[in-house]
Assembly symmetry: C2
Homo-oligomer: 236 residues x 2
Amino acid sequence: MRYELYYWTGIQGRGEFVRLALEDAGADYVDVAREAGDQAIMPFLQGSEPGARPFAPPFLKAGRAVIAQTAAILFYLGPRLNLVPKSETARLYAHQLQLTLSDFVVEIHDTHHPIASRLYYEDQRRAAKERATDFRQYRIPKYLGYFEDILEHSNGKHPLTRHSYIDLSLFQVMSGLNYAFPNTMRRLRRKLPHLNALTERVASRPRLAAYLASPRRIPFNEEGIFRHYPELDAAR
Amino acid sequence: MRYELYYWTGIQGRGEFVRLALEDAGADYVDVAREAGDQAIMPFLQGSEPGARPFAPPFLKAGRAVIAQTAAILFYLGPRLNLVPKSETARLYAHQLQLTLSDFVVEIHDTHHPIASRLYYEDQRRAAKERATDFRQYRIPKYLGYFEDILEHSNGKHPLTRHSYIDLSLFQVMSGLNYAFPNTMRRLRRKLPHLNALTERVASRPRLAAYLASPRRIPFNEEGIFRHYPELDAAR
């Protein structure tokens, strides 16, 4: 099966969670818009392609199936790429963790866009500073504390009984937060030993390391979810 | 199977999407916190109960399984309550639509809490006004336009081939928006004939009508997701 991933070019965005799974599994896939341009996405959003109509990218074409929503794509790919244990209980648990990460990703995005996604960051800077302050003080510790705890009460290495797409998604969120909020993350470092170890372990998985060093990995930048605006991070 | 639903008392919140499915199907369930108080929720959040540890309510206990995240609970319940067609394609499509509604619900909530969930509305009123203006002008039309279109290109009555939990969730979102943004929704009315018809149809399903008229249905109020703050709605 050759999978087709559809996601906007130029940013990692939500598409990156799917890319990491495909890359880690060595799956056969095409990153369609990066070959054919963003306009390849439009017919699906307009409903002129057969199959389920997505509200937004990322979506995945797998044969005739079209699957949208990051967490649903990973739920679908998990067993097919051997990136989740096979039981329904484990699959639902992984899905719940991924959906919690999705909620976190919305909050991370909204630190720089608390008023409207449509507007520039520069036009919502004051609200962004307020939201980011609360986010650094309460939300990062709450979410990362939850996942640190999950790791501490599992086998210490993986949230599930073995490597899964949740490890990859946690790697992505940790990497993004390290990029966007370096001072805040440095302060939290000692409280997150399992998450930090997981992040390093994932980065050194052979296929992932090769991907991260390749031009297929788009660098973090100030167009995506994880943006480094020093005024939104803590002082040193 | 007697299901146990865990959700904070006093608000409809995200728990309501699960309640509507259980009520519409005539399922055997207990709304645990409404019988035993909110403290019944805590041991699960603290990880001292066996099973998957939820990040937040709602979560469902089904035998020994604990399933968290509204959309995942509905994904699990759908086939068991005969509230979704049985094929994997249909189940994933329903799930994608529910996840899109979940994204919408976050945006609806954040109109009155654009800075921090932790703080009072009164302390983030200025940002709320800005966010709500953008929300009314761009986000309501975008989301509801998408679902109206889905209905227009399906059989006109249901987003899937037959009645499903997505009909119930759309009913809930439409009812909530009608409560919170009555002027805005009145203006949009002519553009949403299928959604309005669906909302009325769902409200008159016998089990749902009985539920909505019962004390089990908590009224909309200014503690929940859908809040009526006149200054956040459009002028008449």
